[in-house]
Amino acid sequence: MTIAQKGRWLVIVGLVLLGGVYVRALAFTPVERFQGPAQKIFYVHVPSAVTTELAVILLGLAGVFYLFLKDPRLDRFAESSAEVGTVFAGIVLTTGPIWGKPIWGTWWTWDARLTSTLFLFFLLMGYQVLRGAITDDGLRARYSAVLGSCAVVLVGFIHLSVYLFPTLHPQPIVLKPSKPSLPPEMLLTLLLSFGVFLLLFTGFVMQRYAIATRRAEAFHG
């Protein structure tokens, strides 16, 4: 099986398992007392946010390695991670308001998760816009690697700054998937959902990577 085909299978399996998560979330996980059924949006919202951050970190690390190794496959992987990350960011930024409206009464809140995902979304957008503006493969790979490296350092800095400067007011740009002490049934549903989203991410990146490889081969013959 080619990478693309494997990727497609992973996505199909992932979608089926997502259905399984839905069943578990709707029928076998308790309703939250104060937030009501809408709280269950949490089970797709939080894993998507974590996946978005994972996508940014991966493209950044791929960039750092590219600067040392100059392997174009790293660049194609980074490109794929960026695009897929954007899709998951879209999920976070749409499910967030849908959750926020019934719970907080407003469509948008500058809470930690939405703010940081919006921030990651801008990083991803900037990254892809930069790529789109450069036609030469080598230059694009190199510049993307530079930008990606800066992005991953920035994400790391934000996380570290929370630990090193805890006395300051919670900064709005903090990505910390808040896991309050969840009852075990809820925690399990959440963890299962994490697994499913990771599967979907992997499947999508594989397919996108295959497209990038084909494009590169077609271009260079």
Binding site: A133, S149, C150, L154, F157, S161, T167, H169
Partner: protein, 226 residues
């Protein structure tokens, strides 16, 4: 090491000489800053919101835009007459090119801020005298943060189409962090909070500067290598 600084200083000196000889860029930036401050004045209802509440935001949005303007022209000089190639062929260390550009950009932005701050005080009647030194520290640290990453990115976008549009899109996420810290620190300073409350934000700004100046100077050669 000393050679690095000497080269960096030469580059900075060259840039600044060119800038101030023609004066177009600096004058435009200064006028732009004054305009932005004026826009803020007309963009608010003084009876509804107290100036002190808005002041940190006004100051920092103005400075952010001023920094963007400064950075946009950072590598324009080299585009003309293939001056960049000339620089690269010369026996200059690539890293000194970054430091030289950084110094030149800093000098440019500092000049703009040196005019912008008194204008801000004047237009919005904000008392800064009693907190001037810490405020200058905040401004200095945040500016280094803006310019460190901005110098790196402007080297990249200058080779693309739509450079002036691309630079803000790529750079703004990186400016958001020092901007947040600067606004928090400035707000506390202007509100008369004790310095101990401001110190944490200053430390964050300093940490950001150290990390990103190091990262940017390490990455810079990759943006100009052939």
């Amino acid at each position: 090491m000393r050679e690095l600084w000497r080269q960096a200083w030469t580059i900075a000196h060259k840039d600044l000489t060119l800038e101030f000889r023609s004066r177009t860029a600096i004058v435009s930036a200064l006028v732009f800053t004054a305009l932005v401050l004026t826009v803020f004045n007309f963009g608010r209802d003084p009876t509804a919101v107290s100036t002190l509440d808005l002041a940190p935001s006004i100051l920092w949005v103005t400075f952010t835009f001023a920094a963007m303007l400064a950075l946009n022209r950072a590598f324009q000089l080299e585009l003309e007459n293939q001056a960049l190639e000339g620089l690269l062929i010369s026996p200059l260390d690539r890293r000194s090119l970054y430091w030289g550009k950084l110094l030149a950009n800093l000098a440019f932005v500092v000049v703009v801020e040196a005019v912008g701050l008194p204008l801000f005080v004047l237009f919005f009647n904000v008392a800064v005298g009693h907190v001037l030194l810490p405020l200058l520290a905040v401004i200095a640290l945040a500016t280094v943060g803006f310019v460190a990453v901005g110098t790196l990115f402007s080297a990249m976008v200058v080779r693309t189409r739509f450079a002036e549009l691309l630079l803000p899109v790529v750079l703004f996420p990186f400016l958001l962090l020092p901007l947040t810290y600067a606004v928090q620190a400035t707000a506390r300073l202007l509100a008369g909070r004790p310095l101990s409350e401001v110190a944490g934000w200053l430390r964050l700004l300093a940490a950001y500067d150290i990390v990103f100046v190091a990262v940017a100077s390490w990455l810079f050669p990759y943006t100009v290598e052939e």
